[in-house]
Symmetry: C2
Subunit: 426 residues, 2 copies
Amino acid sequence: MTSTATLERPLDAEALITDMGHRARAAAAVLAQTPTATKAAALKAAARALRAAEADILTANAGDVARGEANGLSSAMIDRLKLDPKRLEGVAAGLESVAGLPDPVGQVIDETTRPNGLLLQRVRVPLGVVGIIYESRPNVTADAGALSMMAGNACILRGGSEAIDTSRAIHACLTAGLREAGLPEDAIQLVPITDRAAVGAMLRAQGLIDIIVPRGGKSLVARVQEEARVPVLAHLDGLCHSYVDKAADPAKAQALVVNAKMRRTGICGATETLLIDRAFADPKPILSALIDAGCELRGTEEVRALDARIHPVAANDWDTEYLDAILSVALVDGVDDAMAHIAAHGSHHTDAIITEDQPTADHFLTGVDSAIVMHNASTQFADGGEFGLGAEIGISTGRMHARGPVALEGLTTYKWLVRGTGQTRP
Amino acid sequence: MTSTATLERPLDAEALITDMGHRARAAAAVLAQTPTATKAAALKAAARALRAAEADILTANAGDVARGEANGLSSAMIDRLKLDPKRLEGVAAGLESVAGLPDPVGQVIDETTRPNGLLLQRVRVPLGVVGIIYESRPNVTADAGALSMMAGNACILRGGSEAIDTSRAIHACLTAGLREAGLPEDAIQLVPITDRAAVGAMLRAQGLIDIIVPRGGKSLVARVQEEARVPVLAHLDGLCHSYVDKAADPAKAQALVVNAKMRRTGICGATETLLIDRAFADPKPILSALIDAGCELRGTEEVRALDARIHPVAANDWDTEYLDAILSVALVDGVDDAMAHIAAHGSHHTDAIITEDQPTADHFLTGVDSAIVMHNASTQFADGGEFGLGAEIGISTGRMHARGPVALEGLTTYKWLVRGTGQTRP
């Protein structure tokens, strides 16, 4: 996956990342004490710089796109890579939006006074240094850099070689924003080489990088999880289910299922498996609506008996995140059977029940062990923006630290402040 | 480190841990839905079983101690290993205390209604399966098992070979408690072999074990951090500092420093380095009081000039957690110099400032990047019990998930519940 944009000089990736890490640590110490307004000013200045540099960025992007086409990138990858004035304005507006988010740093999570008079407070503080490893979406350079910085962290961005010239051009605007606000440029660093050894060095940079956020396909996330010595905030599969209970409203169920599958098929919150209660009145209109909307259905024999256009389902379909207009369909015996299917095949991302029966809904909400569990809502709402977080650096499917959509708060930790008046411990 | 207690049959550690992990996952699914009262009843029943089994446990413990002495364990290790009726009663009382703690599971952390009417709630849920790897303290079997279970988790306990017979006897009481409360015995499992390969298998048990908590010395924690593929809640060094500012009250400073160092020298919250402002009126009485209390002081030349009994300090002393009656002492130029020393040599555990000047204290509290930062209090307060958490499974010096003393809340995560009325995403 090297490209003509790869620097050719024999730079030692380990030494490079160590140096960047030390500089990031120093910048993080400054950022941790930086007032909200200064961080916001840096992002607003970066947005202005982005707009002013539109021509340069689009030229750089055209070069990346041309190289990608010459290298035979898929049309989906080219689409992710490609910027136009509208998309670039979206990136700039995104920076301004992050600048307007409430700053979690300094928030008192809770406080308590002990019988001996000690006042204990848990206060939010930045995580420190965030390492972000991503692929061909150049907007991640701006989004991830902005979120990390607004939460008081320094970050080290390692973008994919496919988008490296675009990433450099966008990164220059972020740096200009930092400079204009009087903040250290080392607060947002872009790894200057696209050598894969740089990824390995980041994954091993314990003590210099506090958390790694991988943004990309399964092979990237798998490599990160296998090699990382630094904690990882990982987004794995989004194998989401929608379950239509016997007590579902048929019209609502049809609208929800079609939206959950077909609104956008390539996002992680898209439903991949439809479970229908055998006691539900009539599944046929739902299946028909899906097929009419362009979805390929794969079902068990009893599902296929409902509509001749349904293809047979294979055993591994239940464990496949299609990210496409394909849906596996099974009939189940009520909510517990649905929950057992989800426990066996789900990816702990987002799962939904459609029912008008509140106790059944509560049973599902409590019992399904996923980052997001929904009642009478489309799984496509699994998104930081839709959750009111203003943005997201990813959707965590792990259980540690942060779960579900992660924005500013997920990029912080806390410390305990203990305020005494001379107390010694007996 | 094998002992006569090691099972000799050729059990495949990987297969064993995989089987235990699957059984733990199944138990965790039950525990996640178990009401607080049932979990508490299991712990109270376990406490009764412990008291009833006192003779058997002490006999098992005497065997462990005799074997340890024959194997040449240090007197400190023998002391950690040894139980007597009073210590055993403490273990039983500890179970009852955990049974009385507020249950974090089901707590609504926050909720918000979106403009489209979706109600979002973040609700605390158990982490899942906790793996605890510890050494010779047999009470960890009870403490860690109880905390994990009360937070709704299943756990897999891997105790050291030195204490294995004691751990088995205590574990039998926990199992009896689970049985009496109608809970699955697999909720608290003890690894039946002391083969070190079992540790390796636990560290690699991704998907079966959700978090590893190492409880033990540096070599154990280092191995865990090096090998673990499962997230780790680690307690590293407690290289704690007390800083005496120029505006410190001399009598308060003396009492705090002597307590912070000498109350118990072997705990992680003990101060290991004393920093004194060069502008502080008279450090001599503090140094003298420490020496009179039996502490060996190691100081720079200017410190040694204050008292002839002070030994020279070596460069690596500043980075040494003595866990003994030894203290490094340096003079510094005010609070910023002290903070720079702590940033260079601290372990992000607990650091304290002693001053009557509030702005200086706030500057220190904000600027020191440690899990616990104190003002006018003894660093020996760094303890879950002293923080009102009722217990602790450890003190986390990492930045992810939980920081500082970790009790029930740190053994939970959260999920997002989304309650809708048929909303589709535009």
